[in-house]
Amino acid sequence: MENTQNSSILKKLFGLREASLALIIIAFAALLSFMAPGFLSTYNINTTLIGLSMDGILAVGMTLVLVVGGIDLSVGSVMAFANVLAGMTMVTLGLNIWLSVFISIALSVAIGFSISQFITKIKLSPFITTLSMMSIGRGLAYIITKGSPVSIGEISQTFDFIGGGKTFGIPNPGLILILLVIVMDFLMRNSKTFRKIYYVGSNEEAAKFSGINVNKTKIMVYILCSSLAGFAGILNLARFGVATPTVGTGAELRAIAGAVIGGASLTGGEGTVLGAFLGIILVALVNNALVLLGVSVYWQQLVVGLVLLSAVIIDMKVHGSK
């Protein structure tokens, strides 16, 4: 009996990953509000929230891919592709905005599907496949815009509202992210279909022998990840009204960092959407601190790298090396 008790306490401590991350975030925010008075201003909170909402959406998709045992380096590029495709079909072809959005999302789904086909049918590694797709997506974004940002002007109030408006005082992109996190976290914990992602990521062979359709699960995951990336691109367009081919550059790194800080394992089988959400918040806070404290933006990437490294090291110490 004593054994059971001990190990369940231990289990709880491990399960507390999200809780300890939340504590770190709160402590960090408290420290920051002392050191940088501007931190608690509505303006700063709102801009930080909007900034992290796109990254957060990518991180949600990334979590699914990491849990299934893969990786998706193309999310930033797919985001840019969807962003400029919607913008340019609107501007140059004069398409209805919702039609443009639909086309963008549909093509993002198609990208996710083709990634999954390379991985499941041709058995390419996810790393190579999505590295190529990262380059292809970005390339397309440049080709479509001929390299420079294009403003779409004021096209639709609803569209503008989605990106720039507020509901209950919260900027809509932030609200969308929060809803997405709630829904996806619930599904990842409870849905029969989504639980299979953990089985496949934990041991693909064993999943196959248990009658789980491994390929179907992977296809679903990559499609979801790419569609979410495309959606983030649309949201970015709605927010800024500019089709920008450089949008989402380096976002894959932040998405991976967020997911991993939140507990996702690069070897698959582990990770939660809530954790990734908190991880992204932490990354955003660190960046925000650098801005508020007047540190040059050039330092941001470096610091994100360091935060990621420390998180992974702490994780290894806790879980034991693999």
């Binding site: 001990n6 190990s7 029969k192 639980r195 934990s202 789980i212 359709n213």
Partner: protein, 500 residues
């Protein structure tokens, strides 16, 4: 004679599980010592401490008169302590030759691998074990018993002073084990000390000089093998008398359930036909490379046959995938629990429900309560020794992992069971329980087919015996009258009833 190694007062606990308590063990050069105990008694843990993989909480290790503190695997290997782990621990993607010479590849010029020499030497090492394997192919291409032989070959080729074999024979047939034993005798002559772990008592009485028995992590006895008989050891292991008879055979065979007609797969097996009926247990025997597992996995739907037909309850299921077969009541329990069976990082509950998420779901959502209920129920049915249902399966002892694997498949409530080495790594007592459970299933109208490398199990549990040799079915015997010799005649290719 002087002691080569002595371990004194070893204790080890894992988060509240006391795996070893004040254990003493010692060995002399040229001694073969059996380490006995039930599943979870602490055998593997003790061996892992000896090789520096685990650190004891208390106790000391004295090797050649020198106290080894904070022993790590590297130092242990340098001192000449070598181990074949219970679970395969080689790299499946790398060639057989490179696996054998892992960490000590022959070099050509500075830093360049001499592949030719490596292959030749690997060949030589394998020949000593009567193995004819292409050393250039990736290890993962081999079956589990061949991989086990490669692992043994590797351990034998290292110039060790102490060789630890943790259930080396659990996936081997007697003839392969015999080759291993011949080699062990040769090493013994050379003065090498060997720790030998096996749940097959017969093997212990065949090759071991001495024994140590652990029960629940405590040293409960040791001595010379010639002074005791198997029942004494079992009594020490389980702490009581154990009835070990095989359950009675079937009295009436029911109607046909599974029928396999002439299935073939290129390079794997050819024209395999058999039937499995209600209330009957069919045993399938064969040596390494006979194609038993490959054929059964094809029946289960992991692969499709190139030709032939499979019917279940009269319905053609040849093109079925595994999911469809599971849903129709046909299951296959793999021999390779680590790679194909279990989700080692996931907890017991998650493993038990893995093959049937449907039954724990409602409206496509998984109900935690049901998961827990099913998990607990089947883990208990199997008498699994565990600390908490939330613990990852990899923290269970080998035999207890095997029980979780069986629990997972019992939980889907199958009608037709194909079991590949179901009692692999299972201790004597639990083995008896599993045999009884299989017989009960069969009596209740299930069809049971099992593969085993252990002849006594094949003869004792089956009603009917099938034998494969080099991808072909060569014999079908009535278990009542069959003898070990006869089965071996078929398995080794000296007898064939189905020649065409």
């Amino acid at each position: 004679m002087s002691k080569l190694l002595e371990m004194r007062g070893i204790s080890k606990s894992f988060y509240g599980t006391q795996a070893l308590k004040d254990v003493n063990i010692q060995i002399e050069p040229g001694e073969i010592q059996a380490v006995c105990g039930e599943n979870g008694a602490g055998k593997s843990t003790l061996m892992n401490i000896m090789t520096g993989i685990l650190q004891p909480n208390e106790g000391e290790i004295i090797f050649e008169g020198e106290k080894l503190s904070n022993l790590d695997p590297r130092t242990a290997q340098e001192k000449g302590i070598s181990i074949v782990h219970q679970e395969l621990s080689l790299c499946p993607e790398v060639s057989v030759a490179e696996n054998i010479f892992m960490g000590r590849v022959p070099e050509k010029r500075k830093g360049m691998v001499n592949f030719k020499q490596m292959r030749q030497e690997a060949d030589k090492v394998l020949k000593r074990l009567n193995l004819d394997i292409d050393v250039r192919q990736p290890l993962g291409k081999l079956g589990i018993s061949e991989q086990q032989m490669v692992e043994i070959a590797k351990a034998l080729s290292i110039n060790a002073k102490i060789l630890i074999l943790d259930e080396p024979t659990s996936s081997l047939t007697e003839s392969e084990s015999q080759i291993l034993f011949d080699n062990l005798m040769r090493l013994k002559e050379e003065g090498i000390a060997i720790f030998f772990i096996s749940h097959r008592l017969k093997e212990i009485f065949k090759i071991c000089d001495s024994f140590t028995v652990l029960r629940d992590g405590v040293h409960v006895g040791d001595g010379r093998v010639e002074d005791v008989d198997p029942d004494d050891i079992v009594r020490m292991m389980v702490g009581r008398e154990l009835d070990q008879a095989y359950p009675d055979r079937t009295t009436e065979v029911g109607q046909n359930i599974l029928s396999v007609e002439n299935i073939s797969r290129k390079d794997e097996f050819e024209n395999i036909s058999f039937r499995v009926n209600e209330k009957e247990i069919v045993g399938l025997f064969g040596l390494i490379g006979a194609g038993r597992s490959e054929a059964m996995q094809t029946v289960f739907g992991i692969n499709q046959p190139d030709s032939g037909r499979i019917t279940l309850f009269g319905k053609d299921i040849t093109a079925n995938n595994t999911r469809e077969n599971i849903d129709q009541g046909l299951i296959y329990i793999t021999e390779d629990r680590k790679e194909q069976g279990l989700f080692l990082d996931m907890d017991l509950n998650a493993n038990v429900v893995a093959a049937d998420l449907e039954q724990v779901s409602q409206n496509s959502l998984i109900k935690k309560k049901k998961v827990k209920a099913i998990g607990e129920k089947f883990v208990e049915i199997m008498n699994t020794k565990y600390a908490s249902l939330d613990q990852p399966v990899k923290s269970l002892s080998g035999g207890n992992q095997q029980k979780v694997l069986l629990a997972k498949w019992l939980a889907v409530d199958p009608r037709v069971l194909i079991l590949d080495e179901p009692t692999r790594g299972i201790d004597v007592g639990a083995k008896f329980e599993i045999h009884t459970a299989l017989r009960e299933l069969s009596n209740n109208g299930h069809a049971v087919m099992f593969i085993s490398s252990e002849l006594p199990e094949i003869l004792g549990l089956s009603d009917r015996i099938l034998v494969m040799h080099q991808g072909k079915l060569v014999g079908e015997l009535d278990a009542d009258t069959a003898t070990e010799e006869e089965v071996m005649m078929y398995a080794s290719g000296r007898k064939n009833d189905f020649k065409n």
